[in-house]
Amino acid sequence: MDLKELYRDVILDHNRHPRNFGRIEAADSRADGHNPLCGDRLSVFVVLDGERVADIRFEGRGCAISTASASLMTEAVKGKDRTAIRELFDKVHALLTRPETAADGALGKLAALSGVREFPVRVKCASLCWHTLNAALEHGAATISTE
């Protein structure tokens, strides 16, 4: 069990200085995510340009894994369309849950999350933001729970 695999520099940096942090008052869609296990809460705000996510921000409080994952996600999906985001989500999900998965080149900085799979109770921390974004894109306003 290697803590350095979990808390890589990229994760610690995005935890300390989360990118795209804050609200978008004129968002086209928002969703709230909640992990009752640890009390993590986050909200995702999306501005859409047709099928494309033109802008995205998040706010909330959570552990380093959930904050860094959300920060990395906002950087990765900004400018992408729904289909590309869904594909990316599938790749992140595989990275977090399947031990044999090699990091896909398309993941970029998101590959830093690969250490999470050695810590099964923490997978939900990393995936909460993705489920929340998914809710914002699919249903508009909703509260997503990891439980």
Binding site: L3, C38, G39, R41, C63, R122
Partner: protein
């Protein structure tokens, strides 16, 4: 003379010897010797409990209160013997006052549904504290929905102590029941339950004490305390899971309707009329948890063998040591600084979320609880999503405190 004084002094508490009674403490976690600091969530069981359960299952098991055959008689004797053991442990008047339940949660729900629900109505009030575990909040909210009565909450101060002045203001002629923790699970605060009970009784209200966190750390004498209902769990008392106790004063229990129907809780059944069994079986529908009761009785034997007061004194030494050590760590804040605490230490580290703290401590072999501790209103009061919580039991040592401090240093390093 000097020799007499020496003989009269209690023997020092030997936690190292106690540890040898708990085989699970030899577990290695992530390459480290386990440091178990989560007894407030569930304590470990000594060999005496494991063997008592095994012995019951191997030699005495059959259904209770039913057969004339030898094993059924042995099982009944073991189960009812365990009830008598519990009666002595808490100094109840009669075994009719000892109801076996699954745990504290079920005990509170029993009182909510069998005492409060048939009696309370709009205008009546139930008074709890802001320190309560969800198990001592939600059952009363359900009763309020069912009856139209109102839930009142006595506030706490920044140290995590009940604000007694406000408590007394909230206690009034409408108060029918006061339901409070003896010890806060999230912060370790010991509540002044004796005074609370006396004040409530002066207003004609009954009192239920949630003793889940208190019974492992202090001698309980329900008669001296004067509680009307007292609930606790076996698995926080070095006993098995799935067994707990509701103590209730006999005249109250006798006047309450059963809350679950089924076998064992009846005397006669016909389609026209069923007569209910006597206390305590009236509240124990279905086949009970016999091996759990036997294990709980063995845990009580074990605890009295060590000395409940001696354990409490040992835990207080550890609590004071850990409090002093953690207070010295930079950017660490202890949450819950009541003057009177049981051996529960809740804390946060600046810049490190409790969930990350829990993972890092676990990687170092140190088991603590992280989260809201099923006491979300307490977390909300302190403006925190969660805390980390170390809790100490009879088998913890100064070495465990040192390992906790060391692991917290590691967390500081990772999040430097």
């Amino acid at each position: 003379m000097a020799a007499n004084v020496l003989l009269a002094a209690p023997p020092p508490f030997d936690a190292e010897r106690v540890r040898r009674d708990f085989p699970i403490l030899d577990t290695r976690v992530n390459g480290h010797a386990l440091v178990y600091l989560d007894s407030a969530a569930s304590s470990q069981r000594p060999l005496a409990v494991l063997r008592a359960v095994e012995d019951y299952e191997t030699h005495s098991h059959a259904n209770v209160h039913r057969g004339v055959h030898a094993l059924s008689q042995a099982a009944t004797a073991a189960y009812e013997g365990a009830r008598e053991r519990v009666r002595r442990f808490i100094n109840a008047r009669s075994t009719r006052e000892i109801i076996f339940v699954r745990g504290t949660t079920e005990a509170i729900n029993l009182v909510a549904q069998a005492w409060a629900r048939p009696r309370l109505r709009g205008g009546d009030e139930i008074l709890i504290s802001a320190l309560e575990h969800h198990a001592n909040i939600v059952p009363w909210q359900m009763v309020c929905e069912q009856t139209g009565c109102t839930l009142k909450v006595a506030p706490i101060n920044r140290r995590g102590e009940l604000r007694l002045e406000e408590f007394h203001t909230l206690l009034g002629p409408r108060t029918r029941l006061v339901a409070v923790a003896h010890v806060s699970n999230a912060l370790g605060t010991v509540l002044p339950v004796k005074g609370i009970i006396e004040a409530a009784h002066a207003h004609g209200a009954l009192v239920l004490i949630d003793g889940a966190q208190a019974v492992p750390h202090s001698r309980l004498d329900v008669r001296a305390l004067g509680a009307d209902f007292y609930a606790f769990s076996g698995h926080k008392l070095y006993g098995p899971t799935g067994i707990g106790v509701l103590y209730g004063r006999e005249e109250l229990l006798a006047a309450m309707p059963p809350w679950q129907g089924g076998g064992d809780m009846i005397l006669t059944v016909s389609f026209e009329k069923t007569t209910y069994n006597e206390l305590p079986w009236k509240f124990e529908a279905g086949t009970p948890n016999m091996s759990g009761a036997v294990g709980l009785a063995a845990a009580m034997d074990y605890l009295e063998g060590l000395g409940v007061e001696a354990i409490a004194a040992h835990e207080q030494r550890l609590l004071q040591l850990a409090t002093a050590e953690l207070a010295r760590l930079p950017q660490l804040e202890i949450i819950g600084t009541a003057a009177h605490k049981a051996s529960v230490l809740s804390f946060t580290m600046k810049g490190v979320h409790p969930h990350d703290l829990g993972t890092i401590l676990d990687a170092e072999g140190v088991a603590v609880r992280t989260g809201h501790h099923c006491a979300m209103p307490v977390m909300t009061f302190f403006g925190l999503p969660a805390t980390a919580r170390a809790s100490f039991g009879c088998y913890n040592t100064e070495r465990d405190v040192a390992r906790l401090v060391q692991a917290l240093g590691k967390a500081r390093e990772v999040f430097a």
